[in-house]
Amino acid sequence: MCVAVPGKITEIIGSIANVDFHGNTVRVQLGLVQATVGDYVLVHAGCAIEVMKSGQAEELLTLFDELDAIMAPEKNDAN
């Protein structure tokens, strides 16, 4: 039930944003985040619950780099 989908804000009108999901535009409540046009937001049940730091694709590219970084302290411990 906690499914949430990332989309890009194309327009903001008051506390409502138009958010683009792969070509579909949906009206989304913005009251829980500080966001501007062009931001990617994570949308759950018609409401943006967080501003994403970057597009999801970019994040996946860096995932295994982050794994290295997280594992680094363990290597240090072992030494």
Binding site: M1, C2, L32, L42, H44, G46, C47, E50, L60, D68
Partner: protein, 360 residues
Amino acid sequence: MQIDQVLHALKTYEGPEIRIMEVCGTHTVAIMQGGLRSLLSDRITLVSGPGCPVCVTACAYIDRCIALAMTPGVKLYSFGDMMKIKGSTKSLSEAKASGAQVSFVYSPFDVLTAAEKEPDTMHVFAAVGFETTVPIYALLLQQAAEKGLKNIQLLTAIKTILPALETILSGTENDGTEKPIHGFIAPGHVSAIIGKNAYLDLARRYHRPFTVAGFSPEHIVAAVYQLLQQINSGRADVTNLYTGVVAENGNAKAQKAMSEVFEPGDALWRGIGTITNSSLYLNRTYAAYDAGSQNLGDEPSESALCRCRDVILGNIHPIDCPLFGTACTPAHAQGACMVSGEGACGIWYRFSPKKPGKDR
């Protein structure tokens, strides 16, 4: 580190047997869809956790929803996945067929629009969910208050995840047969609200690692690998792989909205019982918006053979229940875990209802 190195390490792992819980139902779906169990050594077991809010919604709550929906002058609204869950006698879908005023909506904000259009009707939203959804209810009521709308109410059955995890970790509900959970894949979107650091206290007190992960197969594989490394080196850190979404301390604006509208209280979890301070109820300021959410009483029991409780607590896999796939199927569910699209039993049935084996 490359993904092929990670996959090789997971498949050839020969250390002590470990059990990792994916708390969130959406993670369970991703694990089944991706066939991720087949990538793991037999010594690594993934077990589903309590993170489907529909599955842990008490029968008495559904009964209360139906009673409201049958009341003249009241319309009840719900998320779609709540419609098929049975109360003590019927589900919201069945009640609707009997004339109850029930609609399912995509967003709670649809109720705001309805309340403005129909001022003489009381519009009640069946407000279930974890921390991901709660700030949305808070925002809804703040907007209703600003607009001066008095014909919106919530019937709440909100659950908070940390007390449930503590119940699993502390074993206070144990019947002596369950096996320990060694590490947790923390729910990605609950964590977007409460933050990575919310798990630090549990990690420290119970010495268990937590990894916040997104929902792609890569995220889950990386999370399992990282937990495995931590468990075998005796560490119990909280780490975050979902950094594009989950901040150290979560979404402060959402937390503020929650704290302005809600206060903690005890909750009745279907299949588990009452867990202290595991719910949020409307506070005194917003009490007029409550449709009567307190005191759900004692849970009517499920079928005597139904093992939803053990499934929710991670003691058994769905296939270990004697009813799974025989007396209990999505069309004729005995327990709530089979009804919900994100319940562990429903997910397991959908992806492989009959074939025996590890990766089901």
